[in-house]
Symmetry: C2
Subunit: 285 residues, 2 copies
């Protein structure tokens, strides 16, 4: 596995640098881009804490770095922020680019087992394995001080990453996550395509199931959900099912906040970004 | 002139609402969109102060509302923020859509006198006349408490709006403005096309000239310029010429800040947005 990375773009931002890098992913077998915010402290300090942020359907690494305003808080707390793309890129598999909610831009952070996806669509291993290794090799970070965050499909990804890897991420911050994908239209479509019809293989990628079984170090989760989010009303997100699962597990402390009037987009996310960085900083700084 | 507006989109953001409206512009003779941030104070308080923000080349009303993070500061200070599009829309004039720096997305905030532009390309009158009238008719604002801001081509627009309308805007905040358009390639191309070859007609739209003649109430200008801005090095911006003009005019107080390492984009703008809102709030809140 190559740990080499190549700088694609770099702009000074809040005294640090918002960068985009690309590298050859051996797991996904393609060139992948990721955002990397290096806070002002990066030049002098070593062992900086890390936040990983996973984006939602249709996103690339650009959406979060352009629209969320997180850099202000990462700069304040001295956190390196890594945000990967949402699927492998550069292929032309049958049907890969036909839907906004399956294939490119919609990797769902699983390791596919079905043809033709299983060779490349391995975002779970990429996000929890290869990418952290690449980051640790290239930046002044302390991998023992990592948190993971995400939005919508990326909130699902952040939850399963944290719940399936006890201790690897010190806390988990999610905005309007797909919380019970086995039971919502987006998740059923994606899991059927990537994992096949056998629903027993879906549970490992469903936060509501994995939250029931989690028995690692106390996991703190901050979840913000807009009350006027149309996907909440469409039963795509089902955060109440995750809340029920967490309520019976003493190893998890879920702070579930309904936010009146907010919808599903980045105007919602930016409004609560400071809270999420304050929350994560308490656990990793 | 119709003052009617129609809501296009609305999302809760920092306790207020980021809206986009459209209306029929009688000056531009087309449907125009503008961003409108209503801070949380809007529901209870009347006579709120207003900031107008003018965007740069290629932008619509979307760029600023998605990328700058201004809403946090507008919410804090209780300011209504209005940001128009950068040109008339919906026409297909000869050559209108061929260049990024002329025609659609590049109205340059002038009233064109040349064919085929003079009927519709009247962004100066739109921004300083029609739009404020529409805003005053539809929102709980105090037009006596207005400030104007902008970036690049929009910085040029903000400067000439403030310099040519003494007292109308209490202060002016600009990021990397095109400060002496008569002397830079972007400006020469735009002014030749919209205003013709006679350079005497250009001066009224050139901040470096109008700053020499300004004799209204003391005008405070905050100007931030990235030192690593490629357009600064290409002599498109020429802020030093504006600084020279202001230095000899006791009616203007220009705070000209060079920002080491910053470029021309929104990562630069977002980094100093708080300073600009603090500056404007001092004059209009």
């Amino acid at each position: 596995m190559s740990k080499a990375i190549k700088l694609v773009s770099q702009s000074k931002c809040y005294g640090g640098f918002q960068c985009v890098y690309e590298h050859e992913s051996s797991i996904l077998k393609c060139t992948m881009k990721f955002g990397c915010y290096l806070p002002p402290q990066h030049e002098k300090k070593k062992n900086l804490p890390i936040v990983y942020y996973l984006s939602g359907l249709t996103c690339t690494e650009q959406n979060y770095i352009m629209k969320s305003g997180f850099q202000r808080y990462a700069a304040k707390h001295g956190i390196v922020v890594i945000n990967p793309d949402t699927s492998p890129r550069g292929f032309d598999l049958p049907g890969e680019h036909e839907s906004y909610d399956f294939g490119s831009g919609a990797g769902f952070y699983v390791n596919a087992t079905e043809e033709p996806w299983k060779t490349n669509y391995r975002m779970y291993s990429y996000v929890t394995g290869e990418l952290p290794t690449v980051v640790a090799s290239n930046f002044n970070v302390n991998v023992g001080k990592s948190a993971i965050s995400g939005h919508s499909m990326g909130g699902h990804g952040a939850l399963i990453a944290a719940l399936r890897n006890p201790g690897k991420y010190k806390c988990c911050s999610v905005f309007a996550p797909i919380s019970n994908p086995s039971e919502c239209p987006w998740g059923v479509k994606a899991f059927t395509g990537y994992l096949g019809e056998n629903k027993s293989s879906w549970k490992q990628y469903d936060a509501t199931f994995t939250a029931k079984e989690y028995d690692g170090p106390k996991l703190e989760i901050l979840l913000d959900q807009g009350e006027d989010d149309p996907y909440l009303n469409d039963k795509q997100l089902l955060p109440e099912n995750l809340a029920n699962a967490c309520s019976t597990n003493k190893h998890i402390n879920l702070n579930f906040r309904m936010q009146p009037g907010y919808d599903h987009g980045y105007f919602f996310i930016m409004s609560f970004m400071e809270d999420h960085f304050n929350f994560m900083a308490k656990h990793i700084c």
